[in-house]
Amino acid sequence: MIQRTAEDADASALAAMDDATAVSAALGGNRAAFDVIVKRHQRQVYQLCYRFVGNHEDASDLAQDVFVRAYRGLRGFKGEAAFATWLYRIGVNVCLNRMGSRTRPATPIAAMDFADTRAESADSALLRTERAAEIRSAIARLPRKQRATLILRVYHEMPHEQIASVLGSSVGAVKANFFHAVANMRKLLRAR
C-alpha cells in the first residue's frame, strides 16, 4: 500500500512536470518521464502523421518512429524552441522522408466511417467520407513544403512563426507556401 502511494505520488509529480523538466528527467535516465512526454504529445504527433499518409497503419508506425527519434536525439533539444515545436520538426522530417518511400494507400472509403453517423442519412455520410477522401488525396499531391505548411496551419492551427521554426524557413516563405497550397488545393479539388 505504501509502495503504491509512493508510485502514485511519483506519477503525479511526473504528470505535473513541464516538457523541459520532463526532458531533463528523461535525460537523467527516468524512462517514466519520457512516457509522460509521449502521452502528452501522442495525439498531435499521430494526427500530424495521419495527415501526411492518410492511413492508420503508417500513421501509427510513423508516430512511433517520431518518438523513438526524439528520444534518441533528446540531448539535441536545447530548449531554444518549445518542445512541441522541436517534436513537430522531427515529425515533419520523418513524414517528408517517408513520402519518398512506399506507403500504404489512404484508408479506403469503406473502412473510414469512424464518425458517429447515426443522425445522418446514408447518402450524406457517404458524401462526407467521399469528400474527406478527396481532400486527403489532394493534400497528398501537394509539393512537400506546401503540404507541410497546409497541414500545420489548417489542422494544427500553428502560427506562421512556429511553422517557420518547424520547417526551418522564413515567415514570408510560410505565408507564400500557404497561399500556394490553398490555391493548388482549389485546382486539385475542382479538377475532380
Binding site: 501522442q42 492508420h56 474527406a132
Partner: protein, 198 residues
C-alpha cells in the same frame, strides 16, 4: 490601388485583418468585388479542408501507444545499457537478471549433456542419493559462485526478463551436475560477470 497581395488575401481569408490594416487596403476590399469573392472562395475552401476529420484510432490504441514506444526504444539498445540476447537491461540489478538467465540456460544445457552423454554417477543413476549430493554441494566452490550470482536477485526482475522458471529451478538443475560440470559452469559465470562489469 491594385488587388490584395497573397499575404493580405490570406490574412483576409483567415480573418486576421484588423484595424491595423492600412486604410487604403481596407477601402479597396470594401469596394472590390473580385478581392471579396476570391477571399470568400478561399475561406470556404479552408473551412472545407479543415472539416476532414483525420485519424480516429480506438481508445485502446492510446492506452498502449506509450508502451509500444518504450518497447521500440528498448529494442534500440541505447548507449550505457546492457544488451543480452535481445533483452536490454539497465543497471546493476538487471545485469544480475542477465546472469541468472545465463545460469538457467547454461545449467540446463550442461545437465542435458550430462544426462545424455556423461557416464552417470552411481547416485544419479539410482536417482535416490540426494543426501550425498547435498553434502558435497555446499562445500563446492563452483556452487558458491552460482549462489552468489543468484543472491539478492529480485523475482520481479526475473519475471520481467521473461524467464519462466520456478524458484529453485536453477538449484535443482545444478545439483544434478558432476563437480567437473559445476566447475565449468562457474568458469562460464565468472567470465559472464567480468564481461558484464558486475
Amino acid at each position: 490601388m491594385s488587388h490584395l497581395s497573397h499575404d493580405q488575401l490570406m490574412a483576409l481569408v483567415e480573418d486576421q485583418l484588423t484595424a491595423a490594416l492600412p486604410p487604403q487596403v481596407r477601402r479597396h476590399v470594401e469596394g472590390c468585388a473580385a478581392c471579396q469573392s476570391e477571399a470568400a472562395e478561399l475561406r470556404a475552401l479552408v473551412i472545407h479542408i479543415r472539416e476532414e476529420p483525420g485519424g480516429a484510432p480506438s481508445p485502446l490504441f492510446w492506452d498502449h501507444f506509450a508502451a509500444r514506444v518504450a518497447d521500440a526504444i528498448r529494442d534500440e539498445a541505447p548507449e550505457g545499457e546492457v544488451r543480452v540476447r535481445g533483452w536490454n537491461f539497465a543497471g546493476r540489478t538487471a545485469a544480475w537478471t542477465a546472469v541468472a538467465a545465463t545460469v538457467l540456460l547454461g545449467s540446463t544445457m550442461v545437465a542435458w549433456r550430462a544426462t545424455l552423454h556423461a557416464p552417470a554417477a552411481a547416485g544419479i543413476a539410482a536417482g535416490t542419493d540426494d543426501s550425498l549430493r547435498g553434502d558435497d554441494l555446499e562445500e563446492d566452490p563452483a556452487w558458491k559462485v552460482v549462489r552468489a550470482a543468484a543472491d539478492g536477485l529480485p523475482w520481479e526482475d526475473v519475471q520481467a526478463a521473461g524467464i519462466a522458471a520456478r524458484p529453485g529451478s536453477a538449484e535443482s538443475v545444478v545439483v544434478e551436475m558432476t563437480p567437473e560440470e559445476r566447475a565449468e559452469l562457474a568458469r562460464l559465470l565468472e567470465s559472464e560477470l567480468k564481461r558484464s562489469g558486475v
